[in-house]
């Protein structure tokens, strides 16, 4: 590397050299090195590929990269061959020799490793042919599957830090105006317009001010922020630097949760590299901008992602929310003006500066421009990280990107917005996904969790599940949230266990109203969403539990019984052998029966029966 870039020209000359070197390589193999693929052995595959390529003396013509997450972790380890864009799934060390000899040197595509469609069984040749990818619009995630996140040169070669150069040319006021015009809204939950927040911070009184990146990401199952930090840490740093320039901050913090060691490692490395090249530090690119970033590791409590609690935690106090009548933009970290944005929000900033506010506004909807990354999980064929334009309908996300519900089951509900989001029913599938519509429908965007549920899901049980999480994550300050949520959880327990009445439902509604109306922070005020939304869209299911003591989805153990349909049972004894309670009785080759007093409703009999003879009622 070339020492500190003394001006933008030095950066661009460095980029030219990098691009010229790249061009001498005929192929690049990008192995996904995200946490998901690593857990499935991706780095072993990477090492084996390197060795094999070296052994063939092809290391000059074939480049190797361990990249960030490709988003399709369930198919990992993923290996992509560029420039063709051939994507191989479930690659094992045993496949390596063949990949090198046939695909890399022979130009032949290995049919058996291509991504298989879960519905049609068809195999797709290139990434952009796969429905999971073809319906997405990856702008923030565009490079996470292409670049080596540990190499600043990869980022620079792909045009990295030219948005910063652009910003320095424009000057702080114009940068702020551009972000305001882009209509970018915070991706961390509330969807507050970023430009307005920046402006408040910039015009707040005081010499020192801070920019903070919220990477606490406490929603169970969510990993969009982790993937960005792991896969493209420089995009976040560049965004923060541009923000610091616009707001006049000299210091920044990234608050990352403890459980993200790889994200921290890559971020630390990225900061080090940026400092070495003068992209962080004093007189950045020869300008009068001085800015540096520190990483702070959070203790892991969900509530620490709430901005005021995060401030307390950054200052070394207990991570508990407090009232913010004066905005953090005026009175934040150590009482100084502070601007907090989410990882994904920051990562959008360089794109806006580089391509312009109009380009950004052309994606998404009028009120919610741009894209949003979702973590699509649950009962859906394709799970993973998906980035789609705002305004795409739930149906398109679940049935086009996600390719529908597995095993031919019916869609029942989708929960958006993380644990305190709401559950929407099938008649809401054509609702466009944007900040305002989701709230109007009783859910929220949150940070982008999306859990798909099929017909075998009990919505009362689902609400209970989320309340359990939220009750245990309440910081314990407010009577309403601390005690209200744990009682709500218990009341739902009464309903799922057959002790509920219509009065229980009324009490749930009355209590939820107080929790929502009187809790201090958004954890408390939004925690009732799972209950209220399921009561709104799935009320009959609650009534079946309390009036008929019946769980229509066949989930709540206290309300279901297992029996064997005599006309289907051929007396194969499979279930009788497996039943841990010896509750299934009957002669060989004769219809069996279940002794209800012994049955613990574990469902093993239903799972093992080949003839679908076990009935759940």
């Amino acid at each position: 590397m070339s020492g500190v870039f003394s001006d933008p020209g030095a950066l661009s000359r460095h980029r030219d050299v990098l691009v010229a070197t790249e061009d001498t390589r005929h192929k690049v193999v990008a192995v996904c090195g995200g946490t998901g693929c690593r857990a499935q052995g991706a780095m072993k595959v990477f090492d084996a590929l390197c060795t094999e390529i070296d052994a063939h003396g092809a290391d000059r013509t074939v480049g190797m990269r361990a990249t960030g997450c490709h988003g399709f972790c369930e198919r990992g380890p993923l290996v992509k061959v560029l420039p063709e864009g051939i994507l191989y799934e479930h690659v094992q060390v045993a496949d390596v020799v063949e990949i090198v000899e046939k695909t890399l040197l022979g130009g032949e595509v290995l049919e058996r490793l291509l991504c298989e469609d879960p519905v049609t069984g068809q195999r797709y040749r290139r990434e952009e042919d796969i429905p999971f990818y073809s319906h997405q619009r990856r702008i923030v995630l565009r490079d996470t599957g292409q670049l080596d996140p540990t190499s600043i040169d990869d980022y620079i070669a792909a045009g990295g830090y030219s948005a910063l150069v652009r910003a320095l040319e424009m000057g702080p006021t114009a940068v702020l105006e551009e972000v305001k015009r882009s209509g970018l809204r915070g991706r961390g939950g509330a969807g507050f317009p970023a430009g307005r927040k920046w402006e408040a911070c910039r015009s707040a009184a005081g010499e020192l001010r801070y920019v903070v990146c919220n990477a606490d990401e406490g929603d169970p199952g969510a990993f969009m922020d982790r993937s960005i930090l792991e896969g493209n840490p420089h995009s976040v740093l560049e965004g923060m630097t541009i923000g610091a320039f616009a707001m006049g901050a000299r210091e920044g913090y990234v608050y990352v949760r403890q459980e993200y060691p790889l994200a921290v490692e890559h971020l630390d490395l990225a900061i080090e590299q940026s400092r070495a090249l003068g992209l962080l530090g004093d007189a950045i690119l020869g300008s009068d901008l001085s800015f540096d970033v520190r990483v702070s590791r959070g203790g892991g409590a969900f509530v620490c992602g709430e901005a005021s609690a995060m401030m307390a935690s950054l200052e070394g106090r207990r991570g508990v929310p407090h009232r913010r009548l004066i905005h953090l933009s005026e009175h934040g970290l150590w009482g100084r003006p502070t601007n907090v944005n989410n990882v994904e929000s920051w990562a959008n900033v360089p794109l806006i500066l580089l391509n312009g506010a109009e380009w950004f506004r052309a994606i998404g909807t009028e009120g919610s421009p741009g894209t949003k990354i979702f973590s699509l999980v649950g009962m859906v064929n394709n799970t993973g990280l998906v980035e789609v334009p705002m305004g795409m309908t739930l149906r398109q996300i679940i049935f086009d990107v996600g390719e529908g519900i597995p095993d031919g089951k019916a869609f029942k509900a989708v929960q958006t917005g993380g644990p305190s989001g709401g559950c929407l029913s099938a008649d809401k599938l054509d609702v466009p996904v944007d900040f305002d519509t989701l709230v109007a429908e009783g859910s929220m965007m949150g940070s982008g969790g999306m859990i798909v549920m099929d017909e075998e899901t009990c919505m009362v049980d689902v609400a209970k599940y989320f309340l359990r999480f939220l009750a245990s994550e309440s910081c314990g300050n407010c009577t309403s949230c601390r005690d209200g949520l744990s009682i709500l959880h218990d009341l739902l327990g009464d309903i799922t266990e057959g002790r509920g009445t219509r009065e229980t439902i009324a009490l749930v509604e009355e209590l939820a109203d107080t929790v929502e109306a009187t809790s201090l922070c958004a954890l408390g005020t939004s925690a009732v969403n799972p209950v209220l939304s399921t009561l709104r869209y799935f009320r009959e299911e609650y009534l079946a539990h309390v009036d008929d003591k019946r769980c229509p989805a066949g989930v709540c153990k206290a309300l279901i019984s297992f029996s064997i349909l005599a006309e289907r049972c051929n007396g194969c004894t499979l279930c009788a052998v497996r039943c841990p309670q010896d509750a299934v009785v009957g002669e060989k080759k004769q219809p069996h029966t279940i002794t209800q007093e012994l049955c613990i409703k574990c469902g093993i009999c239903k799972d093992v029966c080949n003839r679908d003879a076990v009935l759940v009622q």
Partner: protein
């Protein structure tokens, strides 16, 4: 700086930034509050001091706590309404699970007509009757002893010695937390010569004149250290100090 606001239709003048709860109470309004003390920072835990506020230029009324609401010009405040009573009542009902017999809660229950106990009482709290308001913690912190802390989350939140210890290492036995506790739930036991509190037993300092206990020796030493005074100045109890003063005043030598 003084600002004008309206509380229950009555114009009121108050210092900007003062706690709306204090201001409303000064104006003679009855707002229930269990976790508030003028001397320590508000955390707004009990959620009883609810009021309705409309800020100037806004056309909507916000239901919010008053103890941590700084007064500003032009606020229009309502301290009692059906909505306020409904939510206060519910939060009171929640607190009653934790301290069903605490006089302060019983009295509020009567006042707000909360007669039902629809929720099962809390039976697993290590400190019975504690409503987790952290007044003890905040008072101890304001006195700079920092012997107590709030730990845990949700239903498992606790107050007491930090890090789950059984004894409060930095406690000096001053008993200020006992004074501050709204439900009088902190066990403190005095004998003629000792005081036991938060898992520790302290020797008491007795008045050199009458022999009555004054405070713990540890507390006296801490005060003396803080004020740069010899321990001696605290050798007399308040009663004897007063007596001594009047004796001196009466003495002919003056």
């Amino acid at each position: 700086m003084d600002v004008e606001l309206i509380i229950d239709d009555v114009p009121v003048t108050a210092a900007a930034g003062a706690s709306l709860l204090d201001v409303a109470r000064c104006a003679g309004r009855d707002v229930p509050a269990l976790c508030h003390h003028e001397a320590v920072p508000a955390i707004a835990s009990c959620r009883l001091c609810l009021i309705e506020v409309r800020r100037p230029g806004r056309d909507w009324v916000q239901l919010t706590t008053s103890c941590d609401y700084p007064v500003s010009a032009g606020l229009v405040v309502v301290t009692n309404s059906p909505r306020i009573r409904k939510h206060r009542g519910m939060n009171l009902e929640l607190l009653l699970r934790r301290a069903p017999d605490a006089p302060v809660l019983r009295q509020l229950a009567t006042q707000f007509g909360v007669t039902r106990a629809r929720f099962a009482p809390v039976t697993d709290a290590p400190l019975p009757d504690c409503i987790l308001c952290e007044l003890c913690v905040r008072v101890c912190c304001a006195l700079d002893y920092n012997a107590l802390a709030a730990t845990g989350r949700g239903h498992d939140k606790r107050v007491g010695p930090p890090f789950g210890r059984t004894a409060a290492k930095d406690c000096v036995g001053c008993g200020s937390c006992v004074e501050a506790c709204p439900t009088a739930c902190i066990p403190m036991a005095d004998t003629a010569t000792t005081r036991t509190i938060w898992g520790r037993t302290f020797e008491l300092l007795t008045c050199v004149r009458c022999g009555r206990p004054i405070t713990t020796k540890a507390h006296a030493a801490a005060m003396a250290a803080g004020a740069d005074l010899p321990v001696k100045s605290t050798d007399l109890c308040e009663v004897c100090k007063a007596r001594l003063t009047s004796e001196r005043l009466a003495s002919p030598r003056r």
